[in-house]
């Protein structure tokens, strides 16, 4: 069964026909070729696929594309303003909050929601806000620093 869907992705209107079973993550990666959103697991835990739908972080591997009909979707590709990094992206660079980069897009998208909720998040806020994102490289230490700095920069 196919569905004609439309949504706004990174500020751009897109329309497509998708199967019922097409996941948002497949739609982004395969249809739109927005391959910054990654897939790291199949049990909805690793968070590498995190994007924002209508301003909230979601795991795009656990959402059907058809559920996003009419929604506003923001992916990692939509954050920077031209070559100017978003403050959270810049904070990850400044604080070495990434290594292999695979979890990074999802981590940054989750960090944005942490910052949205609190411009001065505590360690506990960050731990809780990033509980759905696995990073195997950084040991999280620098991610804490990056999220704090990013949140502060976003708040100011």
């Amino acid at each position: 069964m196919s569905h004609a869907i439309s949504m706004t992705v990174n500020g751009r209107s897109v329309s497509a026909t998708v199967e019922s079973r097409t996941l948002l993550t497949e739609f982004l990666r395969d249809n739109l070729r927005l391959t910054g959103t990654h897939v790291g697991c199949d049990t909805s835990q690793c968070g590498a696929c995190t994007v924002h739908v209508n301003g909230k972080s979601v795991k795009s591997c656990t959402m059907l594309a058809v559920q996003c009909d009419g929604a506003e979707v923001l992916t990692i590709e939509g954050l920077a303003n031209g070559e100017d990094l978003h403050p959270m992206q810049k904070a990850f660079n400044d604080h070495h909050g990434l290594q292999c980069g695979f979890c990074t897009p999802g981590m940054v998208m989750s960090a944005l929601e942490v910052a949205d909720n609190n411009s001065d998040p505590s360690d506990e806020d960050i731990a809780k806000g990033l509980a759905g994102n696995y990073c195997r490289c950084t040991g999280y230490e620098n991610i804490y620093r990056a999220v704090k700095a990013g949140a502060k920069a976003m708040g100011s």
Binding site: M1, E19, R21, L23, D42, T50, V58, Q67, D69, E113
Partner: protein, 264 residues
């Protein structure tokens, strides 16, 4: 994933009609359990009816001594609701401990309790606070809702529309999370109500239940020592890699004691 038909329902009635009482049709709310299950090809519904967009099934209202939460209300909305935090802070706390932020942004109370995962958090509140589950056809008492592992009193095609929680005098929820999945290995809701103490337990058994031994102990002495002094039986409790039945039994008393302490 196998393919399936998808229909987005505009109202609860539409949803029920679309489901037609069939076993091969599944309701999709937040999809936090259904979609992973579909992805792993563990279930093959003919049709999925999306109830996540039904406005009447979303939202939180407080009237008198009751907090009513629409079935399609997300965990994040419950966790962040000032009304819930004021009326039943333990319920907001419980919702804030479910899964992770992304799951809380999508998962719904109706979906959670309809799925009746033995390790889900909400069942502890449904049982522990003595909730009433409202469906498209009737009201079901919280105590009667969970019948067995992944089984509820719901009939095929029956749709939860809201869940009502009576406001307790005081309550607290304590959780020991599975180190891998984050689900509750043991979750305990302790509520002091005008009708006595209720202790709802999730994660420990095949489905949520009331720990009557602890309720009795707390009924006569509402102290953390009283809760901790209760030796729960491990019979019929779950046993897995991360928690044996004996461990779960012990943790029920410990978490109940922590809840009592938190209540003060």
């Amino acid at each position: 994933m196998y393919n399936f038909d998808y229909e987005k329902a505009a109202s609860a009635d539409d949803a029920v009609k679309a489901a037609g009482g069939s076993d091969d049709v599944m309701f999709l709310a937040g999809g936090m359990t259904l979609i992973p299950t579909l992805k792993l090809r563990l279930t093959q519904p003919e049709k999925v009816v999306d109830v996540g967009g039904i406005g009447d099934m979303k939202g939180i209202s407080v009237s008198g001594d009751t907090v009513t939460i629409g079935a399609a209300t997300t965990h994040a909305d419950v966790a962040g609701s000032d009304d819930v935090k004021k009326a039943i802070p333990a319920l907001a706390k419980l919702a804030s401990l479910i899964g992770d932020q992304q799951v809380r942004n999508r998962g719904t109370i109706g979906g959670s309790i309809a799925n009746a995962d033995p390790a889900a958090d909400y069942p502890a509140a449904v049982v522990g606070l003595g909730a009433t589950v409202k469906t498209n056809k009737r009201e079901i008492a919280g105590d009667d809702f969970f019948t067995a592992m992944f089984e509820t009193a719901l009939e095929p095609g029956e749709l939860i529309t809201s869940v009502s929680f009576p406001v307790p005098e005081k309550a607290d929820y304590q959780k020991l999370a599975n180190p891998a999945s984050g689900y509750a290995m043991v979750g305990v809701m302790v509520a002091k109500t005008k009708d006595g103490v209720r202790v709802g337990v999730t994660g420990a058994g095949p489905s949520a239940f009331r720990a009557s031994a602890i309720e009795d102990a707390l009924g006569s002495d509402f102290s953390s020592d009283a809760a901790k002094g209760v030796t729960m039986s491990s019979d019929d409790l779950n046993n897995d890699l991360h928690a044996t039945a004996e461990y779960r039994a012990s943790c029920i008393s410990t978490l109940a004691a922590r809840a009592v302490k938190a209540i003060g």
